[in-house]
Amino acid sequence: MSVLAPTPSGLALKSPGCRDAPVLKERGQREVFCGLTGIIWLHRKMPDAFFLVVGSRTCAHLLQSAAGVMIFAEPRFGTAILEEQDLAGLADAHDELDREVERLLSRRPDIRRLFLVGSCPSEVIKLDLTRAAERLTQRFAPRVAVQNYSGSGIETTFTQGEDACLASMVPDLPSTEAEQLLVVGALPDVVEDQLLGLLRDLGVPSVKVLPTRTADDELGIGPNTRFLLAQPFLGDTAAALSRRGARHIPAPFAFGEEGTTEWLRAAAIEFAVDAAVFERVTAAPRARARKAIAAAAETLCDKSIFFFPDSQLEIPLARFLARECGMRPIEVGAPFIHKGVVGSDLDLLPYGPTLSEGQDVDKQLDRCRAARPDLTVCGLGLANPLEAEGLATKWAIELVFTPVHGYEQAGDLAQLFARPLRRREALRL
């Protein structure tokens, strides 16, 4: 039996990576979503959960606008809109909240997990949702577990909402001594099934996922739990898991053939998987992924790319696009750069692009216009204005709504970036 090597020779960088590269820190207007947006994908992942935002009409309007269309009769999320009298007396606000929750739970007996989601206004008036969650849990246990987290814009940026949600679940998980691998992050079911299948084929003994699909799925945490993050925005969840004694396995994220292989390899090394087994399990899907990427890489090769901060996926994606698609990142902006989480990706990202953290959107737009990148990755508020200035864009939100992780999606991921460029070539206007 041969032991897997931590860094395969093929990964050696010709240039130094970006781990120690200087970071441009910006503090100005941020053109980003708040953490409430995560509810759009979280509620689909947890079909027995309801997300009740305690907030304002703005919160409700954001959720509706970010969801794009209202496709559900009665979605598993809603907003308890604060009114004048709620602001006047907090005691009354708690009574009101209890009443709304009671009404909701009696109408929706399918709800097993209820998340009270804090918003900017609820945080500013210091409405204590932790206390509310405890009170409501006592009242509705065992049928419904009530938890709370903040998705407010004053505390969270876009994908941090998922981080806050998952982190809020960790303290309540039962303890276990079992040796297990925990995959952390809400992935589309198809992707989750594929990645779990690969880990199972590698012979990793017990693989669990956070969040569990239903309240009844058992999940414990303990000192023999090791975890792999599936998403780069889960820093607080990682910290919460570490506090429970679980150990983080640092790895590049599973974007592209190389990313997926390294992500799996990190787990395989941890669980002493035989090198031959690793090769046997990954060889075919790796080849498929490489082939699928190659089709898009023809379009992407040598094209420059500029990332506005959005989902925290920017660094791993820049790594994928630079190394597997031959793109040239000019600026990689992220709302936060958590080196403990994206360090492995920074190591692999060839030195050169400006790394920026935070945002001052008008200044960043100036930099983008000056650089005239072939492709700009940005939020929905910026995409059409940049297109109107002649710059090709890719809307970042699609990257969190679409299955993009793993071998079988690697080609799709590359195509997401290639399509805007192909479209420009195709149109004769």
């Binding site: 703005t58 009101e96 004053i154």
Partner: protein
């Protein structure tokens, strides 16, 4: 506290953004946390605007709350002035900033900017988007409009169009054409299309055309009081309303007589021609903003020959006129912004068609009721590439097409009935001009199949097997009505069971 799943209106600061985005040379400095910038995508994605809305958000964060959010606001204000060089600035707070009470208006005033600074007080926890439009426009007008001489020729302003408005772009174009045909010049169109310097000369017009009371009534009333400009009261949506509007304008303009060219108007003939016979008495439910809903009621009843079975609006500000109109139509007014309540009402009324908003379109999809969209809240579909106004002659033509489109066309309806027992045919066949003709499982008449939803049967009345079978022979598009009428008839007669005879007795009873 009120649980809301979907909202008809955004918060009031979104109304202010709609006004600012419609204008040029105006900038909005909005004290708001990060995340509130989502509002930009309404304009760049839904309306497909090629520029960012002229809004600077302070995007304060939790860590700023302890220190100095007021300073952040001033920095944003200064940067916005320097970068965008606007003619005027509006300043205000979103719902969260309202709570921290930094007083953006007061702060901006102390900065000594060399341009007008217009403070907005938009109570986020009481009011909504339309109020935000109306109040913002009113404040802009109050601050900037100065007394001036009337134009030598008779002229008017068009008040109401904003960014992200339902067909505002095309309504302005159509309306301007109508006014031009009458010989009335358009002085300023505002807010959309105007600059602060144009607002200053609103007083040059002889009167105002209030196109959308929802967004500009406050300004129209103020201009009437302060500048002696009367304003129009009719929304020119539909044939009759357009004629009334033109008469109103003729009078306000002091013209001798109404001289209009109706050669572009097709609705009257389209509605009179025989293919439209099938529209007679179609039961429609109408819901939207009050102006569009009330206008739609008149068009539905008088110009399409529909039967209005329900009428409502989501903006309480206009509850009174809408209630009055509903009474005139003999229906109960539904004034609510609760989407679930609207759904419940539609379910109970089981209309054959909905004239509603995008929300009702979704309700219609679920209940299998065709729906045409007549009002905001807007969707990317409401910004078509083609010219598609709601007002004026062309607007009337558009209404006819839009409302008839979801229905089965006249002759086609007849043929569907005729051929319904042919094996190639099936009940689920909809109008041929609709997409989505996927493979549908073929069912023969009499085969067990779920028969249309049974909204009003509370279980008290039982359908006998033969009657149930007979009911299936009724064309699908009237089957719901047949079922409902029969059940109502049975209940009135105190019958516990419905037989084939009951079905036909009910049919005779309700025959028109």
């Amino acid at each position: 506290m009120k649980l809301t799943v979907w909202t008809y209106e955004g918060p009031p600061h979104v109304g202010a953004i709609r006004v600012a985005t419609g204008m040029e040379g105006l900038h909005y400095v909005l004290h708001a946390p990060q995340g509130d910038t989502y509002a930009d995508l309404l304009f760049t994605m839904i309306e497909r605007r090629g520029q960012r809305p002229p809004v600077s958000y302070t995007t304060f964060q939790a860590r700023d709350l302890g220190s100095d959010t007021a300073e952040l606001f001033k920095i944003a204000c200064r940067d916005a002035y320097q970068r965008f060089q606007p003619e005027a600035i509006i300043v205000g707070a979103s719902c969260t900033a309202e709570l921290i009470q930094d007083d953006p208006g007061g702060l901006a005033e102390t900065m000594g900017l060399p341009i007008p600074v217009i403070p907005l007080e938009l109570p986020s926890y009481q009011r909504k988007e339309n109020f935000g439009c109306d109040e913002t426009f009113l404040q802009i007008v109050r601050t900037l409009a100065v007394p001036c001489e009337r134009t030598p020729e008779v002229s008017c302003n068009i008040l109401g169009p904003t960014g992200l408005g339902f067909r505002h772009r095309d309504d302005v174009e159509e309306l301007s054409r109508l006014l031009e045909e009458l010989g009335v010049a358009v002085n300023v169109v505002a807010p959309m299309g105007s600059r602060p310097s144009d607002i200053a000369r609103l007083g040059e017009a002889h009167f105002n055309v209030l196109l959308y009371p929802e967004t500009a009534e406050g300004a129209a009333r103020w201009l009437e009081r302060r500048h002696g400009q009367p304003f129009t009261k009719t929304a020119p949506i539909g044939v009759g309303a357009t004629r009334d509007f033109l008469a109103e304008v003729t009078e306000l303009a002091g013209l001798a007589s109404v001289s209009t060219d109706e050669s572009r108007l097709r609705l009257p003939w389209w509605s009179s021609s025989v293919d439209s016979t099938y529209l007679t008495g179609k039961r429609v439910f109408i819901f939207g903003d009050a102006t569009h809903a009330m206008a739609a009621a008149r068009v539905a009843r008088d110009e399409m020959g529909f039967e209005v079975v329900g009428l409502g609006c989501y903006n309480r500000e206009f509850a009174r006129p809408l209630r009055r109109l509903a009474e005139e139509y003999g229906v109960e007014a539904l004034i609510t912004d609760d989407y679930l309540e609207v759904e419940k009402t539609i379910e109970a009324l089981a209309p054959e068609m909905i004239l509603g908003t995008q929300m009702e379109r979704h309700i219609g999809k679920r209940l299998g009721i065709p729906c045409a969209v007549i009002s905001a809240p807007v969707h990317v579909q409401d910004f078509p590439a083609r010219f598609s106004p709601q007002v004026g002659w062309e607007g009337a033509n558009v209404l006819f097409d839009t409302w008839v489109h979801p229905l089965v066309m006249g002759l086609e309806e007849h043929l569907l009935h005729m051929f319904r027992e042919d094996p190639e045919f099936h009940d689920a066949a909809g109008p041929s001009h609709h997409a989505g003709h996927g493979p549908v499982k073929l069912r023969l008449v009499g085969e067990d199949e779920p028969v249309a939803p049974t909204p009003v049967n509370d279980g008290a009345v039982v359908w006998l097997a033969d009657a149930e079978k007979e009911l299936r022979k009724v064309p699908f598009f009237v089957r719901g009505k047949a079922r409902r009428n029969t059940e109502k008839f049975a209940a009135e007669q105190g019958l516990g069971e419905i037989s084939v005879d009951t079905l036909y007795e009910a049919k005779a009873h309700y025959a028109r």
